[in-house]
Each structure stands twice: as structure tokens, then as C-alpha cells.
């Protein structure tokens, strides 16, 4: 098999090194290395291929919004080599059959590995456990289970799920949203929602569920993952749970690290523009600051995109009728650079930990989230942190265009992505 040498890449922002890739693994790291093909990487940062714990690929069921093929291309362009496909498809990924289908579609697409997430309850109905073991034993080897989009709000069901997945080292990834407190909720409950007359989504609806689940996980000795943490109060609860030594992990989305609920009232695209409608909702500046700090100090383990594609007609509506969600795969690294690196909160080693190593660990993905060292699978992202550019979704690989960053200037650009040594992206374009 031919070899590739990446010339002069700055691994995690360090001194320039050549990286030799052969047979899909890193064969050597040093100076003056040669290979059959050469990729010039002077001035570029080399990161381990990014891993997303939270992606909506929409297939099967909503192929008008995204498919496994288009979503994984978007992932590759964003520097990802593995994504976890959320279970809220139509049909729901609640059986071995559906998760194997999604897994195979990912294999066929070939742009990044697709690790299906299994539903916790049948049809996301919150009433009976889905066949978690069958999904774990399937070819897809599901380890992450989530009813994402809906909360497993029944305390007994949540307890059982947490206990049950211990048999195969699984984890329940909870979408923390107390349903009664968020009935009809449209945006963060605060000064802006009061002025705009939109039904509020109180922080306590998230925090109360996180607190309960941390206590449940501790009680049954299982591990819990908390999806898209969005409030300062949630951070405090997680910090407390971790201080007890409990096996609790958490993720934050790029948009919750950058955007606030004030955009619903006042933005360049007009008030009440549903491009900013997302679940959980955009919160306040104080929440953003707390989330950044928590990601920096490890209280929040990782960044997960919650890439949620929607067709134009589901967003070009009045606010209440619009779908919730934002696409994020192709902007995640840039947003993290702006929110975390340029603020001095994380260095590039920290970015690698939060966007590759930690999510792979939580998802029990072997072969991903490994540091760039000899013998490791050659999953590598080359990133140019020195450029800035205006976000223009017209060229995105995603089928959908619902990015909240359109027209905004963001730093950085993914130049190349390698999946087990094979380039999926070169010169910023699909290879």
C-alpha cells in the first residue's frame, strides 16, 4: 500500500514535524521523511481526527434534510473522522435492524465512520425500554443510548436504563428537559422572552433533570452522559457530581459557547428569526461564560455539535412554527477556536482532548480519539488557524443551510482530513 507524508505539520500547535502514514496508521514522525505522496502542511495544525458524540444525520426518514452521505461529507469537511448518529430518525433507531442500516450506510459513504446511537425507549416514547442489548450486540455495536430530542423523564425508566446498560459498558446520554416545565416553550426564559412574549424555557427544567440523573447514576453505579449542557446552573451541578467521583460526563455545543438569547430580539437577520431556534435554547451571556470555563477546566468533557439539519421551509416561518436546531459540523472547529482558543481558555492539545479524545472515550470508539503517535490509526485533521473568513453556507456539503453563523466572520479552516490514512478532504475540498 502506498504511503503519504504530511510535511511540516504542527502537531497540537508544536514544532513542525513530518508525519508518515502507511497502511492506515502513523508509521513515523520526524524530520525529512518521504513517502509516495506528499501533503504540504507547513503552518497547519495537526489534530487527531475529530469525533462528534451528537449528530443528526436524518436518515432514514428525513432525507430531504440530510442523508448519511451528505452528513458525513459535511463531517469530513469539518475535520471529523467519526460521528455518532442520533436515534430520532423515522423509523426511530430503536432496533438492531435500524442501527445496522445506519451503520452500513456510513460504511458505504466512506467519508467518516458513523456510530449509531440507539434509542433508550421504544419509539422515543418514554414508556418501555428498547432492546438495548440487541443493539449493543449488533454489527453496529451500539454503546451510546439516547432519546435525544426527548427527555427520559420517567425516573424509574431512567434508573433502569442506567442499570441495564452496565452489562455491555453502555452509557445513557440524557437530553435533560423536564417536559412539564417546558410545555410549549420557545426560548430561554428570561428578560428577552418576557419582552418578546415567547413562552419561556427555564434553566431549572434542564438543571433539575441533570441533578436527578447524577444522583441516579451514583445510586446504581452506572455512567451518565449529559447532552448539550446549556446553563450555568447545570455546570455547577456537574462540578459537584464530579467532585463526588461519580462517572458523569457532559458535552456542550459550539453554538452554546458563542451565541446568546439576545439574538432572538436583535440580530442582522431580524427579530424572531428561527435560525436561532434550537433545543436547548440559546441562553444568556453569563451562561456562555460559565460553559466556556467549564469546558476549559474539564467539568464539561467535550464539544458535540448537535448538528440538526432542517429544510428551508421548516425555518422560513413564524417563530412558533419553526423547527428547532442548527447545523454545525462544518463550523464547529472555527467556533471553538473563536470561543476557546482565541480567548486563551484552551490550547490545541486541549481542543484535541475536547473534540477527539474525550468523545471517543465516552462513546467507547476504538480506533478514534487517539493521539497522533507512531502506531496509532492515521485519523488526522489539518487545520489552518491563521485565516479568517465570512461564513457562506452556499457551498456546504450538508443538504441544509440552517447555520446561525451566515455572514459572520469566523477564524480557521479545515484543510485536510485523513480517515485511516485515506484523505477524505484535501485543500479544503472533498477528496
Amino acid at each position: 500500500m502506498s504511503s503519504i507524508v504530511i510535511k511540516g505539520a504542527s502537531i497540537l500547535g508544536g514544532e513542525p514535524r513530518d508525519i508518515l502514514i502507511r497502511d492506515g496508521v502513523v508509521a513515523d514522525i520526524g524530520q525529512g521523511l518521504t513517502g509516495d505522496e506528499t501533503v504540504e502542511a507547513r503552518g497547519l495544525i495537526a489534530l487527531p481526527g475529530l469525533v462528534d458524540l451528537h449528530t443528526h444525520l436524518r436518515e432514514p426518514g428525513r432525507e430531504d434534510a440530510e442523508t448519511v452521505a451528505t452528513g458525513t461529507r459535511a463531517a469530513a469537511l469539518g475535520g471529523y473522522t467519526a460521528v455518532h448518529a442520533m436515534a430520532n430518525t423515522e423509523p426511530v433507531a430503536d432496533t438492531a435492524g435500524v442501527v445496522e442500516q445506519v451503520w452500513r450506510l456510513g460504511q458505504e459513504a466512506g467519508y467518516c465512520d458513523v456510530q449509531p446511537v440507539g434509542a433508550v425507549t421504544v419509539g422515543l416514547g418514554g414508556e418501555r425500554l428498547a432492546e438495548l442489548g440487541a443493539m449493543a450486540d449488533s454489527a453496529a455495536q451500539v454503546r451510546v443510548f439516547s432519546d435525544d430530542g426527548k427527555c427520559v423523564s420517567d425516573a424509574v425508566l431512567m434508573r433502569r436504563a442506567l442499570e441495564y446498560v452496565k452489562a455491555f459498558d453502555g452509557v445513557v446520554a440524557q437530553h435533560a428537559q423536564e417536559p412539564r416545565l417546558t410545555s410549549g416553550a420557545q426560548m430561554n426564559e428570561g428578560a428577552v422572552s418576557g419582552r418578546l412574549g415567547l413562552t419561556g424555557w427555564p434553566a431549572v427544567a434542564e438543571e433539575a433533570v441533570i441533578a436527578r440523573d447524577c444522583l441516579l447514576a451514583a445510586h446504581v453505579g452506572s455512567r451518565l452522559h449529559v447532552c448539550h449542557v446549556s446553563t450555568a446552573g447545570s455546570v455547577e451541578i456537574l462540578r459537584w457530581a464530579k467532585s463526588k467521583g461519580w462517572d458523569v460526563t457532559a458535552e456542550v455545543t459550539p453554538h452554546h459557547l458563542l451565541l446568546t438569547d439576545e439574538l432572538v430580539e436583535d440580530s442582522p437577520v431580524g427579530a424572531y428569526n428561527p435560525i436561532y431556534k434550537v433545543n436547548p435554547p440559546l441562553r444568556t451571556r453569563a451562561d456562555v461564560e460559565a460553559l466556556r470555563e467549564a469546558l476549559a477546566d474539564g467539568t464539561i468533557d467535550c464539544v458535540a455539535t448537535d448538528h440538526a439539519p432542517h429544510p428551508v421551509e421548516d425555518k422560513e416561518t413564524e417563530w412558533a412554527a419553526a423547527a428547532m436546531g442548527m447545523i454545525g459540523l462544518e463550523t464547529a472547529l472555527s467556533v471553538v477556536q473563536e470561543a476557546m482558543v482565541e480567548t486563551g481558555l484552551l490550547d490545541w492539545a486541549g481542543v484535541a482532548e475536547r473534540m477527539s479524545l474525550a468523545p471517543a472515550r465516552i462513546g467507547r470508539l476504538r480506533g478514534h480519539g487517539r493521539s497522533i503517535e507512531v502506531g496509532a490509526p492515521a485519523n488526522i485533521t489539518l487545520y489552518d488557524a491563521s485565516v479568517r473568513g465570512e461564513v457562506d453556507p452556499s457551498g456546504y456539503a450538508s443538504k441544509s443551510r440552517n447555520t446561525p453563523y451566515e455572514g459572520r466572520t469566523l477564524p480557521g479552516r479545515v484543510v485536510a482530513t485523513f480517515l485511516r490514512g485515506r484523505p477524505t478532504v484535501l485543500n479544503g475540498k472533498l477528496a
Partner: protein, 310 residues
Amino acid sequence: MKRHLISAADLSRDDALLILDTADELAKISERSIKKLPTLRGRTVVNLFFEDSTRTRISFEAAAKRLSADVINFSAKGSSVSKGESLKDTALTLEAMGADAVVIRHGASGAPHRLATWVRGSVVNAGDGTHEHPTQALLDAFTMRRRLGSLDGRKITIVGDVLHSRVARSNVLLLSTLGAEVTLVAPPTLFPVSVDSWPCQISYDLDAVLPKSDVVMMLRVQRERMNAAFFPTEREYSRRYGLDRDRVARMPDEAIVMHPGPMNRGMEIAAEVADSPRSTIVEQVANGVTTRMAVLYLLLGGADLGGEIQ
């Protein structure tokens, strides 16, 4: 003035006073035997009502017709409008028909903002969800001015379901712009959590506020709020926050009673209070036409009014 009237916050003090002064002039026309002005001849005003509101629609229709505008009533209720694409498609249809102004009533907060991004004509918010109803606030201010003179320093008490009230939001913004001191009174469950950031006072105690009020405006309380545990029973609400004869007796002699309608007689307001000489409820309806005439006239940039009235 801005091109649209979507929020009472769109109006500066000068804008608001101009509308009220213009409405004063227009009121004179309503007293004439021929009530019609040629000002908006050839202009098209569309009444786009996604919610039933016969009184508001008729008020706008009368206002536009008295200014000689062509009026198209588009009642979207019952058609396939629950999906947002329909709002955009409807907007594009109106745009193609050349609407100079679109008066929109919609159940979703912010729908007029969205509409304004899709049409070139002026958008007038005739009530959006639980957000705002700026022409209601203008007609209320107009009514208060006629009874009390300038609103500077006047003490205005608004009582009821502030959380879900577009009338309350618009009134707080407009009345504070006009220099009045607004106090909102409601049970704590019917305030937004962040109401302390609004330009007004809040109170849970109606009886304590009444003696210091020049105006007491009662808001309609929807009976279904009871099911969502905002208050225990209608009877308890009425006892604590309803305006009955005994409470009216605590108000200063000159103070007036207002209600935007439709009323729940016996719930937030006693029938004898609604029908008393202090009540401006019927005047508010009449003033609605004049105020809306002023809004349409100014937004659509009609000819010099002075010449036409004399």
C-alpha cells in the same frame, strides 16, 4: 416614523404624540355627516387576520375606508395556515397584489416581524400572540388624553394576566414613552419572571395601588389559565384581582376605568363597574377607528391633513 408599526417601542415620544395629535384632528371628521377623506385613494390596505377578532378587523376596515383606501379582508382562519410556509406564501401573494399596507393579526408572537421581511409595504401589528398590540395602546393613550389631558406623571395601573397580554406589553412601552408612571398588578404567577426589567412598577396588591391610580385598566383573563394552575379558581381570582364596586370606591374621584375588551363580566370586572360613567370601554372602541386612521395615514404618507380637514 418607521415604515412599520410592529411594536410600541418603534415609536419615539414625538412619533407617539404626532399620532395622537393627528387622531385628534381626524376625530373631528367622525363628527361630520360625511366621514370620508380622499387621502388614501388608490392605496390598498390588506387586513390579514389569522385569528378571529371581528372588532379589531372592523375597526381597521372602517379606518382604511374612511381614508378612501381599497380594503381587502383576508381571513386566513380555516385555510391551511398552521404551517409557516403559508405565512410566507401569503406574504408573497399580497406582495404580488401590491398591498401598500398589511394589517396582521396572528397567534404567533413575532409573526409581523417575519412578514415585514417578506413584503415591501408597511406592516401594522394588530396583535401578535402574547407579544404586542400597539394600536390598542395608542387608542388607550388617546382615550386617556381625552379624559385626563397630558399623560406626563399620570399614574396608570394595569391589572391582570400580564404574562400573556399583548395589550399590557404595548401599553407599558407606550405609556412610559409618554411619561406616565405605570404599575402592573397581578398574582405572581401571571408576571413574566423578568418583569422587574420593564419600565414600570409591579405589585401583587390591587387594594394598595388603587388610591394612587388615575387610570385602572383591567385585562381580560382567559378562563383556561385556571387549568394551568396560574390561579386556583375564578372566584379566588375575582376576589383578589377583580374590580368591583367596593374597589372602585377606593379610587380617586376623577380616576377612570378601562378595558380593552372583550370583557368577562363578573370575573375581572363587575358589570356595574363596566357600565358606570367612569368606564371608558365604549369610548375606547370609537377611538380605535380614529387612532387607526391616524396610523394608516401617517405610515402611508398621506397628503397634508390640515388642508383636507378645513
